[in-house]
Homo-oligomer: 169 residues x 2
Amino acid sequence: MRWDSLEQERCSVARTVAVIGDRWSLLILRDCFLRVRRFEEFQSRLGVTRHVLADRLKKLVRFGVLRRAPYQQNPTRYEYILTQKGLDLYPVVMAIVHWGDTHMVDERGRPLLHEHKSCGKMFDPVMVCSECGEPIVARQVHVHAGPGAAEGTAEEIAARAAASSSRTG
Amino acid sequence: MRWDSLEQERCSVARTVAVIGDRWSLLILRDCFLRVRRFEEFQSRLGVTRHVLADRLKKLVRFGVLRRAPYQQNPTRYEYILTQKGLDLYPVVMAIVHWGDTHMVDERGRPLLHEHKSCGKMFDPVMVCSECGEPIVARQVHVHAGPGAAEGTAEEIAARAAASSSRTG
DNA sequence: AGTTGACAGTTCTATTTTAGAACTATATTC
DNA sequence: GAATATAGTTCTAAAATAGAACTGTCAACT
C-alpha cells in the first residue's frame, strides 16, 4: 500500500489517516485549536523543520482542513485558519488529548484543563451514541457493511478472524 | 524535536502521538478493533512491510496498548490483543472513522455502519461534555493550565497568538 | 526420510522522508 | 544602507520505509 493510494482506500480510517495520520499534522492541528495561525509560530512552537512544516500546511490546505487567509499587504502574508472541515476534527484531537491525560501523564498531572463555556465547568470529553446517549465502548458496537463497502468488509473480516481464533486457540 | 523526546513533552497530544501518531499504528489499531490479532493477518490486510509491522507491534506492546498472548504451543505463537489502555483508544478511532465518514466518503457512501448493541440502532459517535452532556464544539471550550503545565502553557500561547493577530491583522 | 506449507519474524539493499542548517524574497524600521 | 520580521525554498546527511529474500520451528503429506 502506497501513501498516495491511502485516500482511495475503502475505509474511513485509512482516508482520514491520509490527511492527519502523521506526527506533525496532528501537532499542527493541536496548535490550530490553540489559535496558532502563522508559519513562524508553528515553527518555533513545534520545532518542526521549515521544510516539513511548509509541506504539511500545503497538504492540510489541499485537503480543505485549513485555509490560507491574507492578513496583511506589502508583502502579502497569509495565515492558516481551520475550515469547518478542520473544526470538525475537534473530537479527534479531544479524544487524543483525553487518552493522553488518562494514560500518559506523569506525577505532575495533566498539562491542560478544559472548561466548557456553556456550563462553566471543567470537563472531560465523553463519546456517546447519537441514538441513546449512552457512552460507547468497543464491545457494545457491531459493524455492518455500509453502501460504500468493498469486498472484504470489516464484518467478514471479523467473522473470519473469529473463526480462525476458535480453530487454533 | 526528536521523536524519542516526544513522549516526554508537556502535552497530552504529543505524548499520545508518540504512541499512535503514525500511519501504520493507526491502521493496526483499526484492525485490532475489528478483532484482527495475528501477524500474518495484519500483514496481508494492511500491506505493510513485515519489518515495519514487527516494529509497530513491538512499540504498541511496549506502551501497553497491546499485549502478546500465546495461542498455541509447538512452536509457541503469540497474538496481539488490546489491553484496557488499548481499548480506551476506541474514542480516538471512532472519532477518526466518523470524520472520514463525514468528509472523505465518495458517492458510494460510508463503508461501514455501526450498530450500538445496547440500543439496537445504527449510530454516529458524538462527543459530549462529561458535566452537562451537551455536544462539544471547539469555540465553547476554554483551556486552562493544569497541574502538569510547562512554562509556555496553551493558555499563554492562545493569549499571545490573539494579541499578535489583533496587532497585525 | 524428505518435501511442502504455515507462521512469525529478521536481514538486506534501494528509495523516500526527515533533520538541520543555510539561503531567498519582500518590505519596514533604525 | 543595515538590521529585522515573515514565509518560505534549497541543500546535504541521517533516518525511516518499501520490497524482497531469508531464518527457524513445527505439522502434515508423500
